[in-house]
Symmetry: C2
């Protein structure tokens, strides 16, 4: 049996990615798997696919908010969309990749803290200065974080990850790969677990 990591593609603005983030590492750990979190720029992906954020569509948008709240309550949490949702989450995505190299132990704690700020507090922490404060709350140097998210190499890293994701077929978030098999949506996590348990069907 493979023990390869699960690739977990996300955008910090995706509430369904947030829901998946609350369960995926624990699920993977039950099967001795790691989870590689991979932020991407969903806006750039949507341009290629020809889609829009779900909240922009008539009928579909209002349903999505209801489905989201209901799916969150099923997990025992309340979800709050910050005023002006959706925002661009470049600083969070770039900062995450910087941390994976500079201080890997803080990457996921930062990511979880950002998700919690955005979707539990319902606070728009997407401006770089606010994102840096979220990083500081998990022990990251605020000034170094602010420098990093303006670093050309880090900016390029995020672009490259987004492009590579699309090369693999990623068109939304959350998007997971398990042993090469693609799964889209937080509502596919049970299938992901079953795929791991059975080796596929």
């Amino acid at each position: 049996m493979s023990n390869a990591a699960i690739d977990f593609y996300l955008d910090f603005v995706s509430p369904y990615a947030y829901l998946a983030s609350l369960r995926i590492d624990e699920m993977a750990a039950r099967h001795d798997r790691d989870v590689a979190w991979r932020p991407i720029m969903l806006g750039a992906v949507f341009k290629v696919v020809g889609t829009e954020p779900i909240v922009n569509y008539p009928l579909k948008g209002p349903y999505a908010e209801r489905d989201l709240a209901r799916s969150a309550r099923q997990l025992g949490i309340e979800i709050r969309l910050p005023e002006g949702f959706p925002h661009a989450t470049l600083a969070a995505a770039r900062g995450f990749y910087w941390l994976t190299d500079a201080d890997p132990g803080k990457a996921k704690p930062f990511a979880r803290a950002f998700f919690a700020t955005y979707f539990q507090e319902g606070r728009n922490a997407t401006p770089a200065e606010d994102t840096a404060k979220v990083a500081a709350s998990v022990g990251v140097d605020e000034a170094a974080f602010l420098d990093a998210v303006q670093d050309v190499a880090i900016k390029d890293r995020l672009k490259a990850e987004t492009s590579a994701a699309m090369d693999r077929g990623v068109f939304g978030a959350p998007f997971m790969f398990v042993d090469g098999e693609p799964f889209w949506g937080s509502d596919r996590l049970d299938q992901v677990e079953r795929w791991i348990e059975t080796g596929g069907w």
Copy 2:
């Protein structure tokens, strides 16, 4: 506790509606509920919402075919998309509504037979003459069926059902309402059942 019927909106061209159709009546029966099948014209709905059939989108289309096959295999079946998929399924939708009045006991058997022809045999039975033959296979008079699907009142009924569905927020298929609560997608059937069991959360 309510025993109101579950409204089940579908288009006979939707493979996910087909998957839901294989489970929804049995699930509902476990909870003493009926299921009211309500065909709609998804093409007309998509125009209003600004979306397209999922197979038309780059990246999303190929994934959908894979996800569909995988979800079908999980239910123990193989699914086949007829050559030229997706087709307009007007005759099937109109014929269904005609049967609900003319010979209600044959409406769901016809619907199931049509789904099976289209997605199990993988045969495009959408031309009215072919749809009528499917109806004949469950004991419906073929000539009467062909007349009915050209009847203005029946055509108007399908338009009215589609319009009423959108008024309730329907933007895709399958789409279910349980005691007023909307659920989109065959992957929400477990939530639908839990909603019935718990009265909502």
